[in-house]
């Protein structure tokens, strides 16, 4: 069964951070349409800061722990707890592992999802990051003999989930009381979540040992 080494894979988080920072304006813009327009600002601040503190030889688990810590203790907002718990639970799942295979990857994502669910209580269809995360976890748990294919499935499921939010009416968070007016726009959190999962999957795929 193929896998990738935990050690040194912290760079994946730095790459994800770069994508988030690049998309700062875009994420704020989406949030501005039906929320308060700060999603990109806060995400970029948190991920950007964390990236600076992730050393070249950090493991993925360590990098996730660093990111979680910055999000929870310096960023706050909704993303502090939600992504904070997401990365905290993931990092705890893999912290002692040398390599991450498909099963561990799925277990890691599942733990992350449970972490998010433990602070937020959004469900699929509420037009939140859950709409990207839940199908991604399902894809990971569905499994595939080829881990590279599996990783592609996970990222694609997240992106399809993100796209599905466009036609949703928000049921939770700031935009929930907009009713029909919240339809027609992507959800900001689902968009950032799909970026994160795409980065995680691409980064893992590039590091697969077989």
């Amino acid at each position: 069964m193929s896998s990738f080494a935990n050690a040194g894979a912290g760079a994946i988080i730095r790459d994800i951070a770069a994508v988030i920072v690049e998309n700062r304006a875009y994420l704020s813009e989406i949030d501005g349409k039906i929320g308060d327009g700060d999603h990109g600002v806060n995400m970029a601040k948190g991920f950007g800061r964390a990236a600076e503190r992730i050393g070249d030889d950090a493991s993925l688990g360590e990098a996730m722990a660093t990111l979680s810590d910055v999000l929870m203790s310096e960023i706050g907002g909704s993303m502090g707890p939600l992504y904070g718990m997401f990365f905290l639970e993931m990092s705890e799942t893999i912290e002692d592992l040398g390599a991450i295979d498909a099963d561990t990857f799925a277990a890691m994502l599942r733990a992350g999802l449970d972490g998010v669910a433990s602070v937020g209580s959004a469900k699929v269809g509420d037009k939140t990051m859950m709409d990207a995360l839940v199908p991604a976890v399902a894809a990971a748990e569905a499994g595939h003999p080829d881990m590279a294919v599996l990783l592609r499935h996970v990222a694609e499921a997240a992106e399809a989930g993100r796209d599905s939010t466009e036609d949703m009416v928000a049921k939770i968070g700031r935009s929930s009381r907009l009713g029909e007016r919240s339809r027609g726009v992507l959800d900001a959190g689902a968009t950032s979540c799909a970026m994160i999962l795409r980065g995680l999957c691409d980064g893992a795929a590039a590091r697969l040992d077989a």
Binding site: G35, G37, D38, N42, M72, I75, G76, G77, R177
Partner: protein
């Protein structure tokens, strides 16, 4: 952007620094957390601690209400973004005089999560934490879903009542009940005439066309219930009063406190023009205005607009409202 800014990323830290420097006679910065402001005398031994917190950009809320007779410690978030769980926890510790702490905050996803996490942390520190979540904004959900409503300027009354109750030596549960009663007795509505800009974003969060207004707008520009032609001040004021009073449905003869706050860029005289008409509408329903507040009490950066809050009073709330306070935004200057 015609704004006074250094690096937009530093605005909150600079605001807090300037604030504690300006009001060093009443507040101080937490020694280990630059996002927590405490009353000079906090924690007061054997007094229930009052904590609040929320995103920045609403000044003088939230920090301005830190001070004797009101809030003991306030957690400060990024612009329009909840403080961290850690800051709430540090504020709770700073407010704890050994008799428990009541966290009085507004109903936003981020604040709910961070306060919840902070309460768990505080429980480990052996501090008893009770919470009250403000949900006074009538436009943000129908009455039967009051738990979904946002907290807005009614929070000021909640802090005042809760803070005064704590200052009297009440128990945590009594303070919680008084603050809960205060916010339950509050209804608010906001109207927006112009947007605001997060400096780091650099362009307005949303648009309001010239000649239009957005009724029911939120404190962060959350879309309101309707966008219509901007009416006269009298029409706008009457509609705001109607929305609040219909939802409130108070029996004639009820005494009320009224708070009209500008959202940041509304000339102060216009708030009085609005107040004049609102007061007539309130009295027109047989209610009795006991005390009024008109000014920039809870803003949204440089949004053009105003909010109206009406709190029903009883004898206890009247007494607590009149109790002495000395925080920078409220009370002795």
């Amino acid at each position: 952007m015609q704004r006074f800014l250094n690096d937009p990323d530093d605005i909150v830290d600079e605001t807090v620094r300037g604030f504690v420097r300006a009001h060093a006679d009443r507040v101080r910065l937490h020694p280990d957390n630059a996002r927590v402001v405490a009353a000079l005398d906090a924690p007061v031994a054997s007094k229930v601690g009052i904590v609040t917190g929320g995103g920045s950009g609403h000044e003088p809320a939230f920090i301005g209400y830190t001070g004797a007779g009101m809030v003991d410690a306030t957690a400060v978030g990024e612009l329009f973004s909840s403080p961290t769980a850690k800051s709430f926890r540090d504020a709770i510790a700073a407010a704890d005089g050994g008799k428990g702490v009541v966290v009085l905050y507004g109903n936003y996803a981020g604040d709910n999560m961070n306060v919840k996490m902070a309460s768990k942390m505080a429980a480990k520190d052996d501090v008893e934490v009770l919470t009250v979540v403000a949900n006074d904004d009538v436009s943000s959900a129908p009455p039967e879903e009051r738990e979904k409503r946002r907290g807005v300027a009614g929070e000021i009354f909640m802090w005042k009542i809760g803070g005064a109750k704590a200052a009297q030596g009440a128990s945590a549960e009594e303070v919680r009940a008084a603050a809960q009663g205060a916010i339950d007795a509050c209804r608010s509505v906001g109207v927006g005439l112009g947007p605001c800009t997060l400096p780091a974003v650099g362009h307005p969060n949303f648009q309001i066309e010239p000649g239009k207004m957005e009724m029911g707008i939120g404190h962060h520009g959350e879309p309101g219930t309707s966008v219509t032609d901007l009416g006269t001040a009298d029409e706008v004021a009457a509609e705001m009063a109607r929305l609040v009073l219909d939802d409130h449905d108070l029996p004639a003869g009820t005494e009320v406190a009224v708070l009209v706050s500008g959202l940041g860029a509304t000339p102060r005289n216009e708030l009085y023009v609005l107040y004049d008409r609102m007061a007539r509408a309130i009295e027109g329903r047989g209610l009795v205005i006991h005390k009024s507040y008109v000014g920039d009490y809870f803003t949204s950066l440089e949004m053009i607009g105003a909010t109206l809050t009406v709190m029903a009073l009883d004898d206890e709330r009247k007494a607590l409202l009149a109790a002495p306070t000395d925080c920078p935004a409220f009370g002795a200057a």
